[in-house]
Amino acid sequence: MRIEEHPILDFKRGREIYFYYNGKKIRAYEGETIAAALHATGVKVLSKSLKLERQRGFFCGIGKCSSCLMKVDGVPNVRTCITLVKDGMVVEDNDMELPEKEYPRCKFEKMECDIAIVGGGPAGLSAAIEASQYADVLIIDENHQLGGQLIKQTHKFFGSKKQRAGTRGIEIAKILEEEARKNCRVLLNTSVIGYYDRGYHFLAAVNRVDGIIYEIKAKKIIFATGAQENMLVFEGNDLPGVYGAGGVQTLMNVYGVKPGEKGIIIGAGNVGLILAYQLLQAGMEVACIVEALPKIGGYFVHAAKVRRCGIPIYTSHSIKEAYGNGSVEGAIIAKLDENWKFIEGSEKDIKCDFICLAVGLTPAIRLIAQTGATISFINEAGGWIALHNEYMETTKEGIYVAGDLANIEEASTAMIEGRIAGLHAVHTIKQIPNFEEKIREYMEELEIFRQG
């Protein structure tokens, strides 16, 4: 299930190592996650639901859904999709039981910075690059690498020269990381677990690899924690093999592991269309793309690319059921009438071994909600978000948002929002020459981009 050849990507696999899965010795490569290594050997069931013990597979692939929890080296509830596999590691089914062993005392470390940025994706990195020209910046990210979701985007971005049009997302991630690392401190594998108002902004964060707990005092905080993928209600939606679209992208484009051989995609927005094309590039088959709306939501040029490869797009259709014994073996799709009801007799049985849900994202607000910033339901923005002004500052002074957390949009707009947040956050601490001019320029850029 590993991808050996790819037209765009070179998979530089690390050293060969071995770990144990329920007592079985399994080969893996250094630098890949436990979930990716298990998938590569065909293990799709990672956990079980608590009450009914239904089997669960990997869904989001980025640490946001908890369907991949396993027991790792005796510690339960480890998110295996963002935890790197190590030589000799012992991975077992999750059982919630804490082991009766001595836990080492936590090490605490205090840190201070002007601007703390939570999340090192396109928005966070852009904010960091901007702010670090004038202030001391700390970036905190729970993944083992920076770049957020850009690291799996193999397609070239739209936009103008200034926004690096024509450059692939993976390359943009590298450029941003390099620039951000010049002047910023970076904490990787580090999850922010709490925000506290102590008269100043305070974050508690824990490094999941070495167990250090950081106590971070910051003058301003920019949250760029991104979004999580939406689930869709249908029979069998929890079968292993039903994935979030982004989870599949992570698996195949970051770790070079195939989710299966033949898939279908639910949702013909840009994510669904791009994913279909990427699956073909990685050597898999796509049976069809299914879209509930009467028309394709994503860009025509993306749709045209997959159509001329022979992938049908069924608009006014949705998925009724996923079936299979232990994992996906097929899906029943059917046509929808004007009232979004399935039309009886229109069912099609599609054989496939995986299903990708590309039905939108929800801003990941759990952390920002702790700050006391006003959270409101704005449908157009993708659901519950932290209200913010044009400078990306929330109703809580000194707390900013940027990127998908603020509003579900493209990476290109996330990068501009990050710049605006970074610039404004610094400006409230110290004078920046030509601040007005700079911020106006970014705002105009954002405006133009959003008209498209």
Partner: protein, 152 residues
């Protein structure tokens, strides 16, 4: 609602087509028919044959100015530009290709239309390798406006 909005397939009437003289010279066919914030094709063109009112507008091509250099085919992030040149009874089509295996120069591949259906055999004339490989194929000229992909 247009067919392309529903199915993702453009029809000839959705496109600005060149005349015979232009086709003999060889020109770029831009199949970018929906307003999106994008303009690298405008920047790439050495003869300023492509223009756009603003970044969200549709690209407009002046076939008189286009010299068929193919720069726009290479840069277009939407893989929406194709070069078409008609020589006698044949058409040379230059298209972007991002799959493996790459076609070999001199080999025969299947030409596919905008729905991915096989329409005829095509001879591979040129392969310019890159992450987006640029492939030139030759096929009977009646397929000049149909063939938009290949199957190796």
């Amino acid at each position: 609602m247009k067919r392309w909005e529903r199915e993702g397939v453009a029809e000839l009437e959705d496109l600005n087509l060149p005349d015979e003289e232009h086709l003999k010279k060889g020109v770029a066919i831009i199949e970018c028919i929906q307003e999106i914030p994008c303009n690298p094709c405008v920047d790439a063109c050495p003869t300023k044959a492509i223009s756009m009112e603003n970044i969200n507008a549709l690209p407009e091509i002046d076939y008189d100015k286009c010299v068929g250099c193919g720069k726009c085919v290479e840069v277009c992030p939407g893989l929406a530009v194709f070069l078409v040149k008609v020589v006698d009874d044949f058409a040379l089509i230059t298209l972007p290709y991002e799959f493996l295996p790459l076609p070999e120069e001199g080999s025969i591949v299947k030409a596919l239309n905008r729905e991915g259906k096989e329409i005829c055999d095509a001879a591979v004339k040129k392969v310019k390798k890159g992450k987006t490989t640029i492939v030139t194929i030759e096929l009977p000229k009646e397929y000049a406006m149909e063939a938009r992909n290949i199957k190796v």
